[in-house]
Symmetry: C2
Subunit: 221 residues, 2 copies
């Protein structure tokens, strides 16, 4: 008797490759975080601030950009392993791009931080094989972004409000934000921080440790 895995057949090719990536990372006890936001919200700064707080862990950063390697160079300077993906005309990373990296990995990582292309729309449509999706919203962007770009906030596992140091120069309304989030993603964990001031990271590191702990990862921290 031949058995056909119908489930697999109906999955899109992106989803299939994402599953392969996920299986690889699971086998290696690697926690994988997909970090998404608008351009300029602070994804690279967040990654730099995070890795310096996890000095005992083997970390890989994957940088997704339409063009250039400015951010990858910043990561490299910090002494952390980094791969650069240039997407050219594509406005998001996909599982296949990550799979290319997976095939090049030679060591066991505790944590992989993927910086997606700066875009609040398409990146959320493509699973990469990550364990969790993190969305950054920065204070100057305004609290209305989840109304206009709902899906990425609906699917997020963690929302980071960055550039909290600019709150006094902004009309950002946390009550309105919370009202919107209640409808889109009730109970979404939300943390406030400032990459510029290197402030508010205790809770994020605790969250990463918890998530890694759930999966028996990052024991060294």
């Amino acid at each position: 008797m031949k058995k056909i895995n119908v489930m697999k057949e109906v999955l899109s090719s992106n989803e299939l490759i994402a599953l392969q990536n996920r299986e690889y990372f699971k086998k290696n006890n690697t926690l994988v975080l997909n970090i998404m936001s608008s351009p300029g919200s602070g994804k690279t700064s967040l990654i730099l601030e995070t890795i310096k707080r996890l000095p005992d862990n083997k970390i890989l950063v994957i940088e997704g950009d339409v063009a250039g390697d400015i951010d990858a160079k910043k990561i490299e300077k910090s002494g952390t392993d980094v791969f650069q993906i240039n997407t050219y005309d594509s406005c998001h990373l996909n599982a296949s791009m990550i799979n290319t990296i997976v095939n090049k990995i030679k060591v066991k990582y505790d944590l992989v931080l993927i910086e997606n292309v700066g875009n609040l729309i398409c990146p959320v449509e493509y699973n990469l094989g990550e364990n969790y999706k993190i969305v950054i919203l920065s204070i100057p962007e305004g609290e209305d972004k989840p109304v206009k770009y709902p899906k990425i906030f609906e699917k997020a596992d963690l929302l980071l409000i960055n550039k909290i140091d600019l709150i006094d120069y902004s009309d950002f309304d946390f009550n309105k934000l919370n009202e919107t989030l209640k409808k889109l993603n009730k109970g979404l964990k939300t943390l406030r921080l400032s990459c510029k001031k290197s402030a508010g990271f205790e809770e994020l590191i605790k969250w990463i440790k918890e998530k890694a702990g759930d999966l028996s990862r990052i024991n060294a921290v």
Copy 2:
């Protein structure tokens, strides 16, 4: 003898519809500006500040958003005609969406301001039938955006640096920005302004009047 317009046949369907839109606007002496930026850079605020400085002109605003109508409501409150386009999963406006509006227009407009979906990547790939492309970059996003998202800055006719009121709380480096722009789009006209402080608009209004004048439009201003 039958003549085949090869040129038209090789144009993409988006380009063909953009040409139709352009012909319609040209016939009606309407100046059309396609305003693009990251989410939260200040497109709607820019439009509100612009229209209040052109009280004697008949203006239409077209709002492009993935979801919601927050911005269209703000424009409506100002007494200006507005159409809302929701793109759902699409991360940009296209000529066909604008054509749907063109078919509904009943009066002659001096100026049409199109607010594209907040995204620095795909919107520039789709001509809408506009006369000029305006890109907004806000101070908190950082001066490195043209390195990472080059095409939209290459194709821009005007670059507006918004949120200049936040310059003292930022590391934004104008020299680096100018170096990048010199390579991408030499001579690109760049204006600095603050929508929040309602400052720096004289030059923008002058630019709009000039562009309208070139095309014998907005004589009433």
